[in-house]
């Protein structure tokens, strides 16, 4: 069972290097991450995009990219389509976004999933490594579905459960989050919870459990009314997977790491392998971490297929 992001890094060294399609690596911070990923033995990059730009930026971070396969391609959507197609055609097990808006990558993935007839909904899983906690906590969907209805949330849950199974958690616990509180009537996000908990009980999402709590107050305090215990709450009470009500909530909550003592790492789970989607504000250490996670999960997926 992989309990921390550091474990992903350790395992990535054992299981790498894996071929990685890097889509438009035109930013120094990102190229630095590719360099570290190569030096650490996680990845062997296949660089797709404007070769002149990537050579310039590689030189700036003292990274000799002569030995790597480079595929010249112009246009952000074309670069994205090409790289994601390489993943889906089985040419390589992982793809990563460079300097391309994430929406282009999602579009390419959605197209390839449709072509493959996988029926898989695209969603982003953002992990939090919280010091002292015995498991990784994931927010999902933090990137794609703007206002997912109950059907989309069911798919989002399946994707996250799939990833947690790959990470070695036999029966992940899930909370379907909502801003439901004593006032304001019943929110749609709460109605979704009521439907989804029944589906989980019926086994629709495989081995997992939806907990009867939709807010952090319910998760941490439960029926307790002793608020003076707030400071002493135990992190292990947190479910593994936190399904967010909508994109705004997911994106805002998961990036509170800028404020808190937690480390964040995100990926897109597709039917053919993980796609690394670092945020444009991420620094190279964080991007390397995300690459490590993708390497390990790609390896687990390969093992399953065998």
């Amino acid at each position: 069972m992989i309990k921390t992001l550091a474990e992903f890094s350790m395992l990535a060294q054992e299981r790498g290097p894996k071929k990685l399609a890097v889509l438009a690596p035109e930013d120094e911070e990102f190229m630095r991450a590719v360099k570290s990923g190569w030096d650490l033995g996680y990845i062997e990059p296949v660089l797709v995009g404007d070769t002149r730009k990537m050579e310039e930026v590689a030189e700036k971070v003292s990274f000799n990219i002569d030995r790597f396969h480079k595929i010249p391609q112009a246009g952000q959507q074309a670069i994205s389509n090409l790289g994601i197609n390489m993943l889906f055609s089985g040419e390589l097990p992982i793809a990563s976004k460079g300097q391309i808006p994430t929406s282009y990558i999602y579009r390419s993935i959605i197209r390839e999933e449709a072509k493959a007839g996988s029926g898989m909904t695209v969603s982003v899983i953002s992990f939090w490594d919280i010091p002292g906690m015995d498991h990784l906590v994931a927010f999902t969907d933090t990137g794609v579905n703007i206002k997912p209805g109950v059907k989309a949330k069911a798919e989002v849950i399946k994707n996250a459960v799939f990833v947690y199974h790959l990470m070695g958690y036999p029966r992940p616990k899930i909370a379907v989050l909502s801003g439901q509180r004593e006032v304001g009537g019943t929110l749609d996000s709460y109605k979704d919870y009521e439907v989804l908990i029944k589906s989980a009980d019926a086994g629709d999402f495989g081995e997992c459990e939806i907990v009867p709590a939709t807010s952090f107050t319910e998760i941490f305090l439960g029926e307790k009314t002793c608020r003076d215990g707030i400071a002493d709450i135990q992190g292990d009470e947190v479910p593994h997977i936190l399904v967010v009500p909508c994109l705004d909530t997911g994106n805002i909550l998961c990036k509170l790491d800028f404020f808190l003592d937690v480390t964040r790492s995100s990926l897109v789970a597709t039917s053919r392998g993980p796609v690394c989607i670092p945020a444009r504000s991420d620094f190279s250490d964080n991007i390397v971490q995300q690459l490590a996670m993708c390497v390990v999960l790609a390896d687990e997926m390969e093992k399953r297929e065998q």
Partner: protein, 305 residues
Amino acid sequence: MVRSFKDILDKALLGGAKRLVVPCPRKEDALLLYEASAAGLIFPCFVGNGEAIKNLVDESPLAEKEYEIVKENDPHLALGKALEILHTHDGGILMQGGIPAHTVLHALHDKSRGMLPKGGIMSFVSVFPLLMGEKLILVTDTYINNHPTVAEKQQILTNALNLARILGIEAPKVAVLAAIEQVNPSIPSTLSAAILSKMSERRQFGDAIVEGPLDIDCALSRTAAERKGVKSTVTGEADVYLVPEVDTGHLMAEALVFFGKMKMLGVVMGTSKPVILDLPFVSLEGRLAQIAMACLLEGGDNPNG
């Protein structure tokens, strides 16, 4: 500028003790009310079953303090009586007491006895001291409005700016949060954020800098914002965070308390007299601070009073 809960307490004490009207008081609030009385912030006025209240007071250190009991044996009428008291007296603060929050909010809308000025809307602001103690940040609306329209957000923001100014922030910096920092017609929160930002440019919020849409990383970090090409004095320095809707607001406030170990106090804004609601994840220290905050609002600083 008020930078901490202690600053709020100190400033509130300058205004002297205020009448705190509590319908159907609960046993678990006795210690809090004692501390607020002992600090000199309030004198409680309890409304409800006289005998039960007397017992509650006698069993607590409140007995040694100044207090008042207004008898109303029917618990369904206690809140109405409390509102009546607030109407007939100058000043005063309403505390939720043993009445459910939704009943309190409903009653505040009442035309004859309510506390909501015509055309106004109530909103809830969560106030957090930053861990380094350098300042307070305001997050709104974290409790009352589910999915506010742009017009409602305009009022929610005005309410928060009123509070920010009471706290001595002269030209508050506001981050209007959304999932992304670009205006995207498919994501409604980015549209309303852009409108509010434009309103601010035309000085519709007075002395304030309203920036939006901002994603949370741009709001919290100047470096992150610059890497995304967002240049604004608000990034990394926001005083007020306006959230898109209550799913985000309520969960964000809770996340800061539980994961961030941050202290929170809550304030109802937009009412003619201060109202204190009791959210289950506010600690005793936060609850004392929110009584102090209500006293500050009552002390002539309430823009709706």
